[in-house]
């Protein structure tokens, strides 16, 4: 079962740091959102391999609670 990493806030996708196939450890920053000129880093909750990335760097106006990365 893949673990879903969702956006914690509405905002822009400032940086996407992983792609499908990357190995990650719990705590690694997967992507960073931007809202109110503040950076909101999102970390991997578990060790694993990135199964899918459904957001793009530069994507604007994302909603909170949107699935961004899946880890297996």
């Amino acid at each position: 079962m893949a673990e879903e990493v969702r956006t914690q806030t509405a905002g822009n996708m400032w940086k996407v740091l992983v792609k499908a196939g990357d190995k990650v450890k719990a705590g690694d920053v997967l992507f960073i959102m931007e809202v109110m000129k503040m950076e909101v880093p999102h970390e991997a909750p578990i060790d694993g391999t990135v199964k899918a990335v459904s957001v793009e760097e530069g994507q604007e106006g994302l909603d909170a609670d949107t699935v961004a990365v899946e880890i297996e």
Partner: protein, 323 residues
């Protein structure tokens, strides 16, 4: 009395109507962006409508209560829970010493408000407890809340179970579309007829490069009258440049070709024209909108805008509370 377990994205102490009387030294009013939700939260817990409370933005805080009290949560739905159990919004709720209020991301809207019976009791600065964190003034040591801080609260008795009636709750749209009232001026005569039509007839997208100092809008270009080009050189040669002037709070400031709505922590003065101004009663809409939301502007007269403010003042009263 309130221990900050998690600060949220940017949570700060605000009061209403904020810091007044210092516009001529560059101090903005600050205060809550959505004063509609803010005032009602205070009334629910038995406070004066302007008592100091918390404004949470996008991601709400987690706060532990050091003594019994009464709170109310209004504005954006940040999924408030007390010790893991959901609590209703727009209603006063009893809390006990040792309990924790947890708020998460805003499901609707952008800014949530937390009032507590007695009001937040930080040291006022220049007459107000409102925070202007970019200048380090007011609130908790001039900053947004930090993990581990204890926010002081004045003692008082509130009553649980008071509810705001449905029609007095902010109608936050779910389709990301907003109609925002604007009054023409002060510098509306700098924009030509086509420019006015274009502004009022277009969709304007709220940029995520927006915060309490200014709301940046993405949309079409502005076009100008001769006033903007036949002017003394000391204005600055770009059409939107004017000799520096005081800015109304709520002005749509045209920085070059970029309109920026000046909001609660915004600049008081500067050298760009303000063709339109958002009246105070429409600020709650700005406060509850998110990046990517679409604004459509509707021109209203000064009198209509003042009537809106009057209506809102009547709404933010005991008349809106069902016991």
């Amino acid at each position: 009395m309130l221990e900050v377990i998690e600060p949220g994205l940017e949570t700060s102490v605000q009061d209403w109507p904020g810091r007044l009387g210092y516009w001529n030294q560059g101090f903005p009013p600050s205060g809550p962006m959505d004063s509609w939700s803010f005032r009602l939260a205070n009334l629910l817990v038995g406070n004066e409508p302007g008592a100091a409370g918390l404004e949470a933005q996008y991601i709400g805080p987690s706060l532990k209560f050091e003594r019994d009290g009464v709170i109310a949560v209004t504005g954006a739905d940040m999924q408030a829970k007390l010790d893991g159990a959901p609590i209703p919004m727009w209603e006063s709720v009893a809390v006990k010493a040792g309990q924790t209020l947890q708020m998460a991301f805003a499901k609707t809207g952008a800014r949530g408000y937390i009032a507590i019976a007695g009001g937040i009791d930080t040291e006022p600065w220049l007459g107000s407890r409102s925070t202007f964190h970019k200048a380090g003034v007011g609130g908790m040591e001039g900053q947004a809340l930090k993990k581990g801080q204890v926010v002081p609260v004045a003692g008082a008795n509130g009553k649980a179970g008071r509810k705001v009636i449905d029609k007095a709750r902010t109608p936050i749209p779910t389709d990301k579309q907003w109609e925002i009232e604007v009054v023409a001026g002060p510098n509306d005569d700098w924009i030509d007829e086509a420019g006015h039509k274009r502004f009022l007839g277009s969709d304007w997208k709220l940029s995520s490069k927006s915060d309490r100092t200014g709301f940046r809008l993405d949309g079409p270009d502005w076009t100008f009258t001769k006033k903007a080009t036949n002017k003394a050189p000391e204005h600055g040669s770009e059409p939107s440049n004017i000799i520096d002037q005081g800015y109304p709070c709520g002005a749509i400031n045209l920085a070059g070709q970029t309109p920026i709505i000046l909001v609660n922590d915004g600049p008081s003065m500067g050298g760009f024209v303000n063709p339109y101004t958002v009246p105070r009663a429409a600020f709650w809409k700005l406060g509850q909108s998110k990046p990517g939301d679409i604004y459509r502007f509707k021109a209203v007269s000064v009198e209509e805008a003042q009537a809106m403010a009057h209506k809102l003042r009547e709404l933010c009263s005991e008349a809106s509370i069902a016991k």
